[in-house]
Symmetry: C2
Subunit: 683 residues, 2 copies
């Protein structure tokens, strides 16, 4: 136990640590603001590499102490909203926009950036609040409308569907002409700022960048920025060296006669430099900015305290490191030299674009050059993905076999089930943590598209219900993301019919062949047709890109209704996840990851033809399949998939799981084999 700063100071000195007690306290406060991580004591190297047991114990105790102190005061949302309104009045603002995003536009943000949650209570991964003098509104997409109604006080915030009832309409309808709407230019991209400016322009409202975020001014117990070790990512997993990647990315700058690009996406920086971090949950990255120059050198802006011993050597001579505060002056230098600097209009903070322009640089809007390169996986990376998916499929199958034995069982709950699955995954080689919060959703919770169980909502898996389980792991060699929907007891006919229609969409997409140049949005409808036929649909995209031991959601490709000009290329990894959600009753989703592959050209073909290889390996619950709704081709796909699942996973699992797997992957084609054994008898 840490009881005494004096004792710790002595230990630090004795160990030859380069920092004293005050700096250590600050560093540990940063560590306490980061997720625990797979190796919870790795951070100790940041204080004193090779610390001995007594010092380690003291440091660990200090972390525990600080963590305990971090417990926030109970949320009083009306008071917080009122305090923010006072700030707005002081700043002569008519309103202020509070997005969920941080400076890096990532999906998961550090506690110090959870302004939207702190202000409103909404915990979803995407959303925006706008606060006016007498009104406030919360904009969330279709995944989160149900969740927002549960979490947010509707007497304080009007909940709106961000696509069907967009922010721009609300601004036009509710802001008075000549009003001043404030935004934090660190938290919005130039494209978002331009969209807001246009919406404001139509309403005669002025959009005003605000240097000091008024939420931060009233959030008194806000944590510091997180500190987690930055470590090298082995070339054996990355597939190519950072020098190769930097040369490739710099080439795109040279082609466009650009001098540099500002990188603000932590996963781009991690990919480019072959490093990983742990500042935020689920995504093994370090919050940082970087400047990639056309000569392929890099200036990395990151809290230097995060660098593990040896990391500077790993980065090499062409990568310099400076603190975050050095970014502004570096942009000023580019301006003074009248450089042409690329910024990603959908990723870089508007603050960066404004600073560059003020300094005299030419800021040109083009995509982050790492985004597409990172999305197209190398052969080494794809082999890693396949290996990670075998291990992950084995863990999920062990869980599903265990579940078949357990359920129904009053003591089995959403949270305990998720915990059990995580325990199976933890046993896997190269496992480093979950890739996103497990969606473990029983019955009507499944209709809350991004439901995440917590003690207040946790419930047991009941007879006659559907159980939706969307989960994934971060492995050193790949990232997984898989959803299975399982019948607990006897499902209804309606459940089976709708599950089967979701499955038809899944299979249609999995088996599609498409010419080179086709974009994801061109394929989105294929996964919906079987539902449309009976007047049903789902209100989310069909597929997202997946990083390689990086963000589980990455661009630039996607399969959704939202337009995209990015063609699908061999080596890209995307999810295939149609669903159906019956509010108040149940949710269904079937998700596999797939990778784009070239297909053999049919005779007479004039186009290069691509298709998908399914990476995810886990049984699809056949008790929910209404075989009579499937075409022959669909049955053939299902049986072939299950054959691969069984053959691949059986050698990796225990005998009980293997026995269950053999039943769970039984063929449904060729007679009514599937119908005779709809219940599994544990042997």
């Amino acid at each position: 136990m840490h009881r005494d700063d004096g004792a710790l100071e002595l230990l630090l000195k004795r160990a030859g640590a380069s920092i004293g007690i005050a700096e250590t306290r600050e560093l540990v406060a940063g560590v306490a603001a980061a997720p625990e991580g797979f190796e919870p004591e790795a951070w100790i190297d940041l204080v004193c590499p090779g610390a001995e047991a007594e010092l380690r114990e003291h440091l660990a105790a200090l972390l525990t102490e600080i963590r305990a102190d971090n417990n926030e005061e109970p949320a009083n949302f009306p008071a917080r909203l009122e305090a923010l309104r006072k700030q707005l009045k002081r700043a002569r603002l008519t309103g202020f926009i509070v997005p969920h995003t941080d400076e890096h536009q990532g999906e998961y943000v550090a506690p110090c950036s959870e302004r939207l949650t702190w202000l409103t209570g909404f915990t979803g991964s995407a959303g925006t609040a706008v606060v006016l003098k007498d009104q406030a509104a919360m904009f969330v997409d279709g995944r989160y409308t149900v969740q927002a109604r549960v979490e947010v006080d509707e007497s304080l915030y009007e909940i709106r569907h961000s696509i069907e009832e967009p922010l721009s309409d609300w601004i036009a309808a509710n802001l008075p002409p000549k009003g001043r709407l404030g935004y934090d230019p660190w938290l919005h991209t130039p494209a978002q700022a331009a969209g807001l400016r246009a919406a404001c322009g139509r309403a005669g409202v002025r959009l005003v960048p605000i240097a000091d975020n008024p939420v931060d001014a009233i959030w008194t117990d806000r944590l510091p920025p997180p500190i987690a070790p930055v470590v090298p990512h082995s070339e054996a997993f990355a597939g190519s060296t950072s020098a190769e990647k930097r040369t490739q990315a710099a080439e795109t700058l040279l082609q466009r006669r650009q001098d540099a690009v500002v990188l603000s996406a932590p996963d781009s920086i991690a990919w480019l430099l072959n490093i990983r971090g742990g500042d935020i949950p689920y995504s093994p990255v370090s919050l940082a900015f970087a400047l990639l120059h056309a000569n392929s050198s890099v200036e990395l802006f990151v809290d230097p305290r995060k660098l593990t011993p040896g990391l500077r050597e790993h980065l090499g001579e062409k990568v310099s490191v400076a603190a975050m505060e050095a970014l502004g002056p570096a942009l000023d230098r580019l301006g003074a030299d009248r450089k042409t600097v690329r910024i990603d209009p959908y990723g870089t903070p508007d603050w960066v674009a404004r600073r560059l322009r003020t300094a005299g640089a030419q800021a040109v809007s083009e995509p982050d050059p790492c985004a597409l390169a990172k999305a197209v996986k190398s052969t080494v990376e794809l082999d890693g993905f396949r290996a990670a998916h075998r291990r992950d499929g084995a863990a999920l199958s062990r869980f599903l076999a265990w579940l078949a034995h357990q359920a129904p069982n009053e003591t089995l709950t959403e949270m305990s089930a998720a915990g059990r699955l995580e325990a199976f995954r933890r046993e896997n080689e190269n496992f480093r943590g979950l890739s996103f919060p497990t969606i473990s959703a029983s019955a009507d919770h499944g209709a809350v598209v991004h439901y995440r169980p917590c003690p207040e909502t946790d419930r047991s898996l009941e007879q006659g219900s559907l159980y939706l389980l969307d989960s994934g792991g971060q492995y050193l060699d790949g990232t997984t993301d898989v959803t299975r929907t399982v019948a607990i007891g006897e499902p209804t006919e309606e459940m089976c019919a709708r599950f089967t229609r979701v499955l038809k969409g899944h299979i249609t997409l999995a088996t599609t062949r498409f010419p080179k140049g086709t974009t994801g949005p061109q394929l989105d409808t294929l996964a919906r047709l079987a539902l449309w036929d009976v007047g049903l649909d789902y209100d989310h995209g069909t597929g997202h890109g997946v990083g390689n031991y990086l963000g589980v959601h990455e661009g630039p490709q996607r399969i959704s209704k939202i337009a995209s000009r990015v063609a699908l290329r061999p080596g890209m990894v995307v999810s295939n996840e149609p669903g159906y959600y019956k509010t108040g009753a149940y949710g269904i989703r079937i998700e596999n990851l797939v990778t784009v592959i070239p297909m053999e050209a049919p005779k007479g073909a004039e186009k290069e033809i691509f298709g998908f290889e399914t990476l995810t390996l886990a049984p699809i619950d056949l008790t929910l399949v209404a075989t009579e709704l499937l075409t022959e081709k669909e049955v053939a796909w299902l049986d072939a998939y299950h054959d691969t699942v069984r053959k691949t996973l059986t050698p990796l699992v225990d005998d009980d799981t293997a026995a269950w797997l053999s039943w769970a992957t039984r063929p449904v084609g060729g007679g009514d084999a599937g119908k005779t054994e709809n219940t599994y008898t544990h042997r």
Copy 2:
């Protein structure tokens, strides 16, 4: 014959005409620059309403004389390009952009606006040339790449695919930094200008608006703007009064707190005011601008000489008329009053936006409020469409029966066949002309997607070839657009296989059910899947909107790869026209017009479900259908469609056509009925 201005002057005076010989000559020069129209002498009313025979003869002779004088000098494209380059040098421009479009962004333009054709020889409906000091390039989309290579001298202009090798890349690669690229702000929209400016910005090039188009300076024998009579369009066809439409459109301005909108699309103006004109070919509109005010009054800017007697009464008190030249001062007045004025960023000339802003108005970018309202047809309009399609289908069937009797026939050519079809259509009630130039394409001409036969390319329909016929009519009660591909003699197996795949795509789209909110691009892929399966595709959109006795191509909805946020709504009319093109061999396209209709909701449906009703009535050539490639559902659709065609059209045609129709619409389902009579024997 007109021989003597003196005699004509006397006749004019005697008839009490309000204009003298000089003004008459000017007016007739304008008439000579307009298409002949369905009533070639209607324009005489513009000179002298109720003119008697002698005056009519004199005026007609004057028109003939002026038309004869209008024959252009033979084109010397190198000399024209050289002359333009001299103009650029004088204006200190590095380059200049010559689009096909006119001030109204229409597909068909008046002779005085055919700058691109005059300069380069390219006659397609979309394209852009960029001329630099030593280089020039021509950008055309997939429909026109083959045609551009035929028409344009590639030693003068590099031909580029506008999507795959975009203008912006070419600017970056070929314009020197600090160069000055000129554009005519009348011929580009604000969105186009912004796109060009961004592309120029990336290349360090300045985009410069040029007040006097340098092409006009060197085009010495350019015709005057066209003059054709503006006539009322009966409410019996329009379905609602202009006052109702104006109130509806003004309501959208009030909702957005806007004072006025600038209308620059002639079809929007024609729709709004229930008028029609004849200034340009194929589209019965008058070139004009208009200001619609929030109080639902309209200022119409149009050459007042075009107004037929009584038209001002038809327009009513709330519509004022002024000459085109009055538009600028009217915009200045809006600016002086600090008004908020809507402009369509994809339709209004950049000139208008610039003028408004300079004058002090707030120009806000939002769609033309008439576009969506015009696209959603009323019940009266849809009934008109159905009636027009019955007549049009009867004419096309008479032609196809005649063709079955004639072909193969050495004297039957692409042009003579098209002429014969037009003759059949001319006999129809309410027919007012073709809706676009007939694509009558034999064999490899069919692979030139927008081929239009001319004496130099005309050829006979040969045994063993495919004949692609894409044509349509303008009727007072509706507009048609239909493509049929017909086997002349015995088709090859490959032709049949590919025709059948195009047909499968056509049927898949025709039978799709989709939820409310679905956009055209979400459906585009459905028409391609059967081709993709064998490595084939087509390089054009699948469907376009169709106006009601207005443009045969209209927005805002479309079915294509290009993103759109406009949902398909009941009452919209779109084409369903997948194709396949084998360069140098043949082309296939099957096109019907369809209208969006609400479908009966299936049991348990949660969404409103829409589908399509097919409007076009004409047999699809069964000799090209490989029935074994069709699913049962597809066969059922084909047989049901042919049943409707036969039952609807038989009462409207002669006995010979009826006999052919009975054979041509024979069922292919239920046995091999289709296979036994693959050749029609004329009785």
